[in-house]
């Protein structure tokens, strides 16, 4: 699956430097319009997830079989599927599950990866070496393949796909956290805290972690978008949720059989995925810019 790859890190400075001072001041007060648009998209999806009933009047699981394969129109805005179920309703009702899975994936990545990175970076020595090897191995196996292998071992459903996606993201979080820890660890105030006799755990919790939060958050937001894509890809290959669940990737996968005579079944959920991921990544890059200022 696609990887939103990192552009050169803070060292590079990047295009940020090109911004003029007044523009910077202005944009600090108000986020750019594209960020506002992204936030709006995510707000809509959040609404869909929390209160799907508000948005649509149809039943996501029960359709009118005689209305199967109705093209998008006034009655069904996005058309109907092979059992006459309203596609828009299914997309809306699938949001919660799609969002939750992506959240689970990110949570696993942040927690497991963060912990590994923290330990490796802070303790150093053989712990760091062992963790480093594990991370390298995880990075060497193409992430989507790794997710496929893990979901095979766990069994096919969306939760397991989410876990697999999370595990395949552990390595990137571990690396980020480690480098952040190394950066902070050598700073003066940490030295001071250590000299004043604070315990390792206390120093980690009070000083190291808070300083690493922002970059990790930015990566987490980005990974959220990636996770949506990966989980959708897994669902597309059939490693997703059971029907009549309506996870977005599953909708695409179901619709694929009918691409010939009902292309909207693939296009609509596919576009929803694309727009949401685009919004998420825009948000992530904006958060990142803030950090660099």
């Amino acid at each position: 699956m696609s990887v939103l790859d990192a552009a050169p890190g803070p060292v590079a400075g990047g295009p940020v430097a090109a911004a003029t001072a007044p523009a910077r001041a202005l944009s600090r007060r108000l986020p750019p319009a594209s960020v506002l648009a992204s936030l709006a998209v995510l707000a809509v999806v959040l609404l869909w997830s929390l209160a799907p009933g508000l948005v649509t009047g149809h039943d996501p699981a029960v359709g009118v079989p005689d209305d199967k394969f109705t093209a998008p129109g006034a009655g069904y805005w996005l058309g109907t599927d092979h059992l006459g179920r309203d596609l828009l309703t299914r997309i809306v009702h699938g949001s919660a599950s799609s969002m939750t899975s992506a959240l689970i994936a990110v949570a696993i990545g942040v927690l497991a990866g963060g912990l590994l990175g923290l330990l490796g970076g802070y303790l150093g020595g053989w712990v760091d070496a062992v963790i480093g090897r594990v991370v390298e191995v995880l990075l060497a196996i193409p992430g989507f393949l790794l997710a496929v292998v893990i979901v095979t071992a766990l069994g096919y459903d969306t939760r397991n796909a989410a876990i697999a996606t999370g595990v395949s993201a552990v390595a990137v979080f571990a690396r980020l956290m480690r480098s952040e820890v190394l950066r902070v660890r050598t700073s003066v105030f940490i030295e001071a805290a250590r000299l004043s006799g604070a315990s390792a755990g206390y120093v980690l919790l009070r000083h190291v972690l808070p300083n690493a939060v922002r970059p990790v958050l930015s990566l987490a937001v980005l990974q959220f978008g990636i996770a949506i894509l990966v989980i959708a890809g897994l669902a597309f290959l059939g490693y997703g949720d059971p029907p009549p669940a309506s996870d977005w990737g599953l909708l695409v996968s179901d619709g694929r059989e009918h691409l010939l005579h009902a292309p909207w079944l693939v296009i609509a959920p596919g576009l929803v995925i694309a727009v949401v991921v685009l919004s998420v990544s825009r948000l992530s890059s904006w958060l990142d810019l803030g950090r660099n200022r």
Binding site: M1, S2, V3, L4, D5, A7, P8, A12, G13, G14, P15, A17, A18, G132, R133, V134, V135, E136, V137, L138, L139, A140, I141, P142, G143, F144, L145, L146, V148, V149, I150, T152, A153, L154, G225, L229, A232, G233, F236, L237, Y239, G249, V252, R256, L259, P263, V266, I267, G270, L271, I273, A274, V275, V277, L278, S281, R282
Partner: protein, 341 residues
């Protein structure tokens, strides 16, 4: 793998003679190369163990599933004999050691579902994936280069903005969507290639494009940033002030320093290409390593799955090892740093 950025061996600044400095650099390079190669080998072996361990968690296997089906009506003795023949009755650890030992000598075992040697199955699948991946990488680099150069050469304005936004859009679009749309438009509507021959040049090109689009975005992002950064350097500003046209500046001054990070990212996106081939091959009906993986997953054919995944890791590790080893040789700044001091 970690040392994607081999820091040139930093040492005490010396006043040594140039020749002895060069010899020392060579020695350091040799030891660096040796160390990196060793690390890469260890990573591949560990990847084998890791994937084996994960797959050991699968509750069943295709042989037992076939045998346990009451329809078949096999006796317990028959089942036990057949399982023993495939070594499925041994403890997992023994299976791992035996399988790893064989793998190190090049024997990847036999498929549990077709009884063919795994090496033969991989061998039959590799050319298809190789053609796909290579074409995709070339396309990705081309697209990225076009986007990156356009981002520098187009004047500030809507067109430039669009070019700079495209990578994000490419990255956010699920690649199955891209593939399905390409098939519908190119094969079905326009009839540009035959669906029955998924390995024809036309079909391969379309599949490669599917794979290349998200990958090109990653390369383009790095390329664009590198170009922007180079443009911010004094020498570029000077060149512009000297009255060179933007195109000349890009070619003469910006391209070279931007190539190194771009080459590095190409090595890294290889993982994407290999992982993405799974979905792309499925959509286009190609019978490459990706489909092999998918079929092995569906049949719980562990030897095949294991071999295919480790092969991907091996390719990724080797390519990045080569890039790492070339890096200090390619970058004059890295190579010369210590001598200049």
């Amino acid at each position: 793998m970690s040392v994607l950025t081999p820091t040139a061996p930093g040492g005490p600044t010396g006043t040594l003679a140039a020749s002895s400095a060069a010899a020392r650099t060579a020695r350091r390079y040799a030891s660096f190369a040796l160390r990196r190669t060793g690390q890469a080998l260890i990573v591949v072996v560990l990847a084998y163990v890791l994937v084996f361990a994960v797959l050991a968690a699968i509750p069943g296997d295709p042989i037992s599933a076939q045998l346990d089906d009451p329809q078949a009506g096999y006796s317990e003795a028959e089942k036990a004999q057949i399982r023993a023949f495939h070594g499925l009755d041994r403890p997992v650890l023994v299976q791992l050691l035996v399988s790893l030992g064989h793998a190190l000598t090049g024997d990847l075992g036999t498929s549990l579902s077709t009884a063919q040697p795994v090496t033969a199955m991989l061998g039959a699948a590799i050319p298809s994936t190789l053609a796909l991946a290579a074409t995709a990488l070339v396309l990705a680099v081309l697209i990225a280069a076009v986007l990156a150069l356009a981002s520098r050469l187009l004047p500030e304005g809507p067109a430039n903005t669009l070019v700079r936004a495209l990578p994000a859009v490419f990255l956010s679009t699920p690649n199955f969507l891209i593939g399905l749309v390409l098939i519908q438009v190119l094969a079905v509507t326009l009839g540009l290639f035959s669906l029955v021959e998924p390995h024809s040049p036309g079909s391969t090109l379309a599949a490669a494009l599917t794979l290349a689009i998200p990958v090109s975005a990653q390369i383009a992002q790095v390329f664009i940033t590198a170009l922007d950064e180079a443009a911010g350097q004094d020498y570029a500003e000077v060149a512009l002030a000297r009255g060179l046209r933007p195109g000349q500046v890009v070619v003469r001054h910006l391209l070279r320093p931007s190539l190194l990070p771009t080459v590095t990212i190409i090595g890294l996106v290889l993982g994407e290409v290999l992982g993405g081939s799974l979905i792309t091959e499925a959509i286009f009906g190609r019978s490459g390593v990706g489909t092999l993986v998918q079929k092995a997953v569906a049949a719980q054919d562990v030897p095949v799955l294991l071999a295919a995944v480790v092969l991907s890791a091996l390719v990724f590790v080797v390519v990045n090892l080569v890039i790492d080893l070339l890096y200090p040789l390619l970058d004059p700044r890295l190579r010369g740093k210590e001598d200049l001091r």
